[in-house]
């Protein structure tokens, strides 16, 4: 402070009163605390709301199994009355639940889109629709073991694949492949119920007429709400008996024919093969990223398709030292298995949900070793990359590893 300035003398209510006010600060504080009630705080409504919207677990029970096609079934799930799950969590059409299934001591998770409408939650149920995969470890088990009355443990609703009114166009185009139609069934139902005020065109690609899911139901909604819902089927098989459908994969030409590529928001959900194809078609149409919403890629089926995968490792089996809780455990890990799968095979079950590198549930710490992360499934944050954190569900070992894995919630 320069010398020529006069000394600063601040007075608020009076020199003495101000000092007195200061000296009384602590006694005022003591009195406030002394006089306060010694009762517990009131219940935290937001904590309850958070629990209702995002439960860690939901205990479900199969209420009904509906055969949809030769190879697909819908499972109607309700809250298990014998459990702490009193009501199902509300969700946004397009979201998934991650089921936690225990198969002979192996604990695995699998995300399934909810195919019923959010309003059905108030009626007490979710529906998920599953296609039996050839040689599918999990679906084989489901077909053999799941009956009405079977209890199932699930996550809360997860995922970001839903219509967002502030962001998206009111005219949306759903591009579905195979079981990917489940999201659009949920959205279509919510439109039909008058809750979601948008228009939906579904371009639904199937490899076979027999595999088309929800055909009658969606056609029925289309006829009842012709200005709001439209269904277009594209069949990629040789023999086609169905009328009025498109032939082949959902190409840029088919998209252009049914959609306004300058305005609509495109929601894409289907198997990995479809994603790999549709990316090229979307590129041709030059639709900006803003108007493309994609459901997560899913657990990578074939890591060899990524050109940057280190092929020389193909046959190798590495050793991973896993620290979980107070336990260190050494496990074998195939170079072509994700680290999460290797852990599950070794009966260590860390938390997981999306199995696509997006949700962060399995986030772990890499103490030493090298990993391969396909860029398609790399949902890590900048700091995670910098400080050696990774998602076991979308990472492959490139050497022996030492990792620290969280326990489940």
């Amino acid at each position: 402070m320069s010398k020529e300035e006069p000394e600063l003398k601040v007075k608020i209510k009076g020199k003495i009163r101000d000092l007195l006010a200061f000296s009384k600060l602590t006694s005022k504080r003591e009195k406030k605390i002394e006089k306060a009630s010694a009762e517990p705080i009131e219940t935290d409504f937001l904590k309850q709301l958070a629990k209702n919207l995002h439960p860690n677990y939901q205990h479900l029970i199969i209420d009904k199994i509906i055969k949809e096609t030769k190879s697909s079934q819908t499972f109607r799930l309700i809250a298990d009355p014998e459990s702490e799950t009193k009501k199902l969590a509300y969700f946004r059409a397009g979201q998934y639940i991650s089921l936690k299934v225990n198969i002979n001591g192996y604990s695995i998770t699998r995300p399934y889109t909810i195919s019923s409408s959010p309003t059905d939650v108030t009626r007490g149920f979710y529906e998920i629709t599953i296609k039996k995969e050839e040689n599918g470890f999990l679906t084989n088990y489901i077909w053999e073991n799941w009956n009405e009355g079977t209890k199932i443990l699930s996550s809360g609703p997860e995922g970001f694949f839903y219509y967002q009114p502030v962001r998206d166009s009111k005219n949306i185009v759903g591009i579905a492949g195979g079981s990917g139609i489940t999201s659009f069934r949920s959205i279509a139902k919510e439109i039909a119920e008058g809750i979601l005020d948008i228009n939906l065109t579904i371009l639904y690609g199937c490899s076979d007429e027999e595999d088309i899911l929800f055909y009658e139901e969606l056609k029925d909604l289309e006829s009842k709400f012709p200005t709001k819902i439209k269904l277009v089927i594209a069949l990629s098989c040789e023999e086609i008996t169905m009328e009025g459908c498109e032939k082949g994969f959902i190409s840029s030409d088919i998209i252009k024919k049914y959609a306004d590529i300058r305005k609509n928001t495109f929601f894409i959900c289907g198997p990995q093969m479809m994603y790999d194809y549709i990316d090229g078609e979307i590129d041709k149409l030059k639709i900006p990223e803003k108007r493309i919403r994609k459901e997560v890629y899913g657990e990578i089926k074939d890591v060899l398709k990524f050109p940057d995968y280190p092929r020389e490792n193909l046959e190798k089996i590495y050793n991973i030292k896993v620290h979980i809780g107070n336990i260190p455990k050494e496990i074998p890990a195939k170079a072509t298995d994700t680290i999460l799968v290797s852990m599950e095979k070794a009966k260590i079950s860390p938390p997981s949900s999306c199995r696509s590198g997006e949700c962060g549930f399995c986030r772990s710490y890499l103490v030493s070793g090298e990993i391969f992360v396909p860029s398609k499934s790399d949902g890590r944050r900048a700091a995670e990359k910098q400080f050696n954190y990774f998602h076991p569900c979308s990472s492959y070992p490139k050497s022996d590893l030492e990792i620290v894995v969280p326990r489940k919630k």
Binding site: M1, L8, K9, V10, K11, I12, K15, L25, T26, K28, R29, E30, K32, I33, K35, A36, S37, A38, I41, D44, F45, L46, K47, L49, A50, N52, L53, A89, Y90, R92, F160, Q164, P165, V166, R167, P288, E289, K290, I324, G325, N326, I327, P351, G360, R363, Y365, V367, G379, R380, R381, A382, A383, E384, Q386, F387, Y389, P406, R407, K408, K409
Partner: protein, 521 residues
């Protein structure tokens, strides 16, 4: 089944509850001193509020706007020094201006961009309000005295010489019991200049006739002399650096693990128990969880819960929670005409009236908005930008909402906040939203576990401001071996205070650990 065989039963020098700003620093500091520590966090990532998340091609900062008291290499602030002491080095960026304050009510219209730097700040206000020169300069001198007085108290390790305080820091003492408004009025600062000075009130979010003057002056002065900074990799840039550092130093961190019981015997900490069945023996706990949660939910058994613990909580007022809209825009800030990093957009200068609007389930009448790319140019891919709009609600306001209304309500408020931003800044952003996320008090409750999603700790009225909290700290320790750090601690809310509280509680714990060892010998 897995829970049992993975659970931890061990003795530690100290256990830390919560990996927020305070907990992370406390854990690192103790590990650095060679202590055997364990840190529990109920969420699956570190940071608490200090974190980030990814949507599409955008990584959003969860809550940090401006890190106070960091400073440049040439003028290191407390936080820069703290990070150096803890051994972390992170990429960081300097915020260009303090804030662009926009008052939108027709009879109060104001649009002013306030710079950092004492002289630039004074000149900016004088230019806008020519008659304010004398009083504003006086105000800044007072802020400087507050700053120096607090430094002196810190250097004296909380035992200042009363004579020195009276002799050299008389103005500091005489203003310490008053509100920001009281002091600005007494200094006869013209109203318009007062309104400009009060811009940072959004970082405390209680009306300026209740914000304690000392705490405001200290914060403002730090911003002016050291500027503001943000980590390039968001706040997770340093929270994850700390997480890694703790592990390197031999500390243990357990995520997804909720501490359920703080075990107390005869008024002393003896250990804790968690949701995973861990049974930890320790005589020292540092809690990043608030006194509200500690005294109401955690102390075990009930007979060890002191009545005064409840009173200590009930005497105070829980501060606001936030409503934050995260926008990933598919145009650059330049293309959109977003010129500044930090905006404070308010419908009125009447902070009491604005605060009242936090009590209704309508769009709050103030927003603090940042455009990340105007500090970190490459915060998002080229040709895109990130805009984060923050507003506030009182913790009770969201009570009674049902689940299916919740999403509609969020979107409605978000839409209005966007409109208000567009109108105030004369920009158009709603057509450029590529990614968005909305966080409400429910979101903060879920991710951080704070009571009712409260973001800003306890309100800092003069009787509950940093100074009286510090002066009564020893008396307000109701359980031996337990200390509280973080946004609800003695330091008061803010990133800077939370971080520093972690270090202080760790050093105090260390002292007690040393005394204990001394006793053993």
């Amino acid at each position: 089944m897995h829970k049992l065989n993975q659970s931890i039963e061990e003795e530690y020098d100290a256990a830390i509850i919560g990996a927020g700003n305070g907990g992370l620093v406390a854990a690192t500091q103790l590990a650095l001193e060679g202590k055997k520590i364990i840190l529990f966090e109920q969420h699956n990532v570190p940071g608490g509020f200090a974190t980030s998340f990814v949507r599409g091609r955008f990584e959003f900062e969860a809550s940090l706007h401006e890190l106070c008291d960091y400073g440049p290499e040439s003028n290191k602030g407390g936080i820069r020094k703290l990070f150096e002491e803890l051994g972390i080095d992170i990429p960081i960026a300097k915020v260009p201006e303090a804030y662009n304050l926009i008052i939108t009510s027709p009879n109060e219209k104001l649009d002013i961009t306030v710079p950092f730097g004492v002289n630039d700040y004074i000149n900016c206000i004088i230019k806008e309000v020519p008659k304010s020169e004398k009083s504003v300069k006086k105000f800044i001198r007072l802020c400087q005295e507050v700053h120096e007085a607090l430094n002196y108290i810190k250097e004296s390790r909380g035992n200042p010489d009363k004579k020195i305080l009276m002799g050299e820091y008389g103005n500091f003492l005489r203003t310490a019991a008053y509100s920001l408004d009281d002091v600005l009025e007494a200094l006869k600062i013209p109203k318009k200049a007062q309104d400009i000075i009060k811009g940072y009130w959004v970082y405390l979010a209680i009306p300026t006739n209740r914000i304690n003057f000392t705490i405001y002056a200290a914060m403002l002065y730090f911003f002016l002399i050291r500027g503001a900074y943000i980590p390039k990799h968001r706040s997770s840039g340093y929270t994850m650096a700390l997480e890694k550092r703790i592990r390197e130093l031999g500390g243990k961190i357990e995520f997804n693990t909720k501490v359920e019981k703080i075990i107390v015997k005869d008024g002393k900490i003896t250990g804790l128990e968690t949701s995973h069945g861990d049974k930890i023996k320790t005589n020292f706990i540092i809690s990043n969880a608030s006194p509200t949660l500690v005294y109401n939910n955690l102390i075990y058994p009930d007979s060890e819960r002191p009545d005064v613990g409840y009173q200590f909580v009930n005497a105070r007022r829980h501060a606001v929670s936030c409503f934050v809209l995260y926008l990933g825009l598919n145009k650059s800030a330049e293309e959109l005409g977003i010129e500044n990093y930090s905006y404070v957009i308010s419908e009125s200068t009447d902070t009491e009236k604005i605060y009242e609007s936090f009590k209704n389930l309508e769009c709050p009448r103030i927003q603090a908005t940042i455009c990340m790319n105007n500090t970190i140019t490459d915060a998002s891919p080229q040709g895109t930008s990130i805009l984060i709009i923050t507003s506030f609600f009182r913790p009770k306001t969201w009570t009674g909402i049902n689940e299916n209304e919740y999403f509609t309500l969020k979107n409605k408020i978000a839409m209005e906040l966007i409109e208000k931003f567009e109108k105030a800044t004369n920009t158009s952003i709603s057509e450029s939203i590529e990614e968005m996320e909305i966080a409400t008090p429910e979101t903060y409750s879920r991710y951080t576990g704070t009571y009712k999603g409260v973001t800003y700790g306890y309100e800092v009225d003069s009787w509950d401001s940093t100074l009286p909290r510090l002066m009564r700290m020893n008396e307000e320790r109701y359980i031996e071996g337990l200390k509280i750090c973080g946004g609800f601690s003695f330091q008061g809310v803010s990133y800077t205070n939370s971080l520093l509280s972690g270090q202080i509680t760790a050093l105090l714990t260390l002292q007690e650990l040393m005394n204990e060892e001394g006793d053993d010998e």
